[in-house]
């Protein structure tokens, strides 16, 4: 049973992630929306709130011209890699507040090849930062990973284990992009991008779309045979002491992260402990990020990751399956859709109908985590009773 006042995911739809010549981001978004509506058994006209996110592929609210001009309030969000999580939080707040009964959340993007470029001025930095070659997101991930591995005694082979797991999980997943399994040796020996990270330890910007239909808990059981409760979703920006992308300086004292704060808030509000989580999707922009985020979200202690990875604990059949669809590393990252992909995968895992490998043992508690520039995180706890 789902409670009145709670929020449930009653429909989910996805357009596969990858590169699709001739298909626009809006084309892919429409596919995902229609799939989500069909999954929930509702019509677009039944939706009384829509929230959409895209980082660079058009205005989400223009989707009404394809879906139907119903007059629905349509909110657009744009929060970098955390866009999907913020879209989810926005819709959930409106449902809990009683401002809507049936909400559609959609995220999509279509990025060109290669790492993102960024303008120093848009981040409040002087041109010197870009001219000197410091305005590179992949550098940040490498610098943070190297420091974290050093502080917690984790070997660089852990980075390869994370990537190998991602491609292994993606191999059987119909919506994933890079589905060719790679050995840890192949990953370590691949071209260096920013040491200690090689080319297969980074996700790539690509294309895709995801949509979800959310309902207030009192309506969920009527709409969905196996509704998944969105037990909580929490959003945080950075506090003093966090280490973020595009930082010309850091404080030498203390270290925190918006992921720490968002995860703690999400677990507290849901009333579940990290140890209850049966399946988790974590922001794995690079291999190091998955390792760091495991600890920042409270799913393990700092330094415990080496053993978790070496013993297979984070595999689909392990005690803490992480990124069961291959995560960003294997799915790629269409920024607006990425956080909702995590929710799509967790919902399907909790419903027992995972598109790829199913987590065994009837999982009841799932967790999602996105993190993005310039220091923002959104976490969600999903449960099935």
């Amino acid at each position: 049973m789902t409670r009145a006042g709670s929020v449930a995911v009653v429909g989910a739809g996805i357009h596969a992630f990858g590169r699709f010549d001739g298909l626009s981001a809006m084309d892919q978004a429409e596919v995902a929306v229609r799939a989500a509506l069909a999954d929930a058994g509702v019509a677009w006209a039944d939706v009384d709130l829509a929230v959409g996110g895209s980082n660079e592929s058009g205005k989400p609210d223009t989707l009404v011209s394809r879906l139907g001009l119903t007059g629905v309030p349509f909110v657009t969000v744009r929060n970098g890699c955390a866009t999907g999580g913020v879209a989810l939080a926005t819709a959930a707040q409106a449902l809990r507040a009683g401002d809507a009964e049936l909400a559609l959340v959609v995220g999509f993007d279509k990025h060109g090849r290669g790492a993102f470029g960024s303008s120093p001025a848009s981040y409040g930095l002087g041109d010197w930062y870009g001219e000197a070659g410091l305005m590179v997101t992949t550098q940040y991930f490498a610098l943070k990973a190297r420091r974290y591995l050093h502080e917690h005694g984790i070997g660089e082979e852990a980075l390869a284990r994370v990537a190998a797991k991602a491609f292994r999980n993606a191999a059987s997943h119909p919506y994933a992009w890079r589905r060719k399994p790679l050995s840890e040796q192949e990953i370590l020996a691949a071209a260096p991008v920013n040491p200690p990270l090689t080319q297969y330890m980074f996700c790539s910007p690509n294309e895709g779309a995801v949509a979800l239909v959310l309902a207030r808990g009192d309506r969920a059981a009527d709409l969905c045979a196996r509704p998944v409760t969105l037990a909580s979703v929490a959003l945080r920006s950075r506090r003093f002491g966090s280490f973020e992308v595009f930082s010309p300086w850091l404080t030498p004292r203390g270290r925190t992260s918006p992921s720490v704060d968002a995860a703690a808030a999400a677990f507290a509000r849901a009333g579940v402990a990290p140890s209850d989580v049966a399946v988790a999707q974590l922001q794995d922009t690079d291999s190091g990020a998955e390792i760091i985020h495991l600890a920042e979200t409270g799913l393990c202690a700092d330094g415990e990751q080496d053993e978790l990875l070496a013993t297979g604990a984070t595999e689909v059949g392990g005690r803490l399956p992480v990124n069961t669809d291959g995560g960003c590393l294997a799915c790629g990252e269409p920024v607006g859709a990425s956080g909702l992909r995590q929710v799509h995968e967790v919902v399907r895992q909790l419903q027992g109908r995972a598109p790829g490998a199913q987590v065994p043992g009837d999982p009841r508690v799932g967790f999602t985590h996105v993190y993005g520039a310039p220091g923002i995180s959104a976490c969600a706890v999903l449960t099935r009773e």
Partner: protein, 142 residues
């Protein structure tokens, strides 16, 4: 100096020898780089411009193996990889280019090794090099 700093605001005084310019909050002592007009920790606007130490220890490092997008500038058609890192100066950890002895390679870099401030030519113009701040292994302290 014949070389021109990529941004004079990064440096304290004449720039020769190079000294980095940060700012210190009069209320809580937070030091940041480059200097800014308010404290990001307590939001106070009572901050003073300070010269940062020219020696520290390597906090983390990597090597840039692909050409960054504009506004990155480097002479020549073929991209030459370069090292970057963070150096702990005590009150603040500063991000910078790292300059390596041509005879050495990045594998010699170690977290915690002593580093010393210098400048690195970023690109050249008709009247001289444009330089940025950098750190090099401090052989004297090693």
């Amino acid at each position: 100096m014949s070389a021109r700093p990529v941004d004079p605001a990064l440096f304290h005084g004449s720039g020769d020898p190079p000294v980095l310019a940060g700012s210190r909050c009069a209320d809580d002592g937070t030091v940041v780089f480059p200097a800014q007009a308010s404290c990001p920790r307590c939001s106070a606007r009572d901050v003073e411009r300070v010269a940062l130490p020219d020696r520290g220890v390597l906090w983390s490092w990597t090597v840039q193996h692909f050409r960054p997008r504009p506004p990155f500038r480097q002479d020549g058609e073929e991209f030459v990889p370069f090292a970057v890192g963070y150096v702990d100066l005590g009150d603040v950890v500063v991000e910078a280019r790292l300059v390596l002895d041509p005879a050495t390679d990045p594998d010699r870099l170690r977290i915690g090794m002593p580093m010393r401030l210098c400048v690195v030519p970023l690109w050249s113009e008709a009247d001289g090099d444009v330089v940025g701040h950098a750190f090099a292994p401090d052989e004297a302290a090693a």
